[in-house]
Symmetry: C2
Subunit: 108 residues, 2 copies
């Protein structure tokens, strides 16, 4: 992961509505949610939601698939773990100050 990618992800999640959207969709997993579902659950105007969904897809935090008239948004949860690893990369110069399993197991 590069600096720029991380920033895109962080900014995408650093917004009240988008954070709510993402966490709801994470909980649904592969079932996913449509914009209609989200408008109902969150009470955001459709145009506003659409703007935010675009940001999340752009950051690769959500994946979208059309199913007839509906769009289905699903989470890319792995990206969150990749982000976490990136942020703590080479923490404390490599000394195990934090038991960060993943950064040891999979060094990119």
């Amino acid at each position: 992961m590069k600096n720029k990618d991380a920033i895109t992800v962080l900014l995408a999640l650093g917004h009240e509505s988008r954070l709510n959207v993402f966490r709801l969709i994470v909980q649904r997993g592969d079932v996913g949610l449509t914009p209609g579902d989200l408008v109902e659950k969150l009470g955001i105007p459709n145009a506003t939601l659409s703007f935010h969904l675009k940001e999340l897809v752009n950051a690769d935090l959500l994946v979208v698939e059309r199913q007839s008239r509906h769009l289905i948004y699903r989470p890319n949860a792995q990206l969150v773990e990749a982000l976490s690893d990136f942020l703590l990369d080479n923490c404390c110069g490599g000394k195990s100050c934090i038991p960060n399993k993943s950064s040891i197991a999979s060094s990119k």
Copy 2:
């Protein structure tokens, strides 16, 4: 962790300079870094750096201690893990779609 805290952390990290500052300080661990070190390493004007450091401390990502004329900034790496857990909370409704150890071990 609450929604609002998460947003504060995400926005704090979602900026080129602040991300660089944080990752450098993470790598130093308890040794820490001073603003002077960072100005030199990153080439940011001191006023600008000071603004960014304040954001990171405000988000609780950095802890600061004065040592004579210097300030020493140190990382709060645990917060990154707490954030990651928050983002993936109850992922896929609890089914183990992602082997997310921490969210199973420590549910808050």
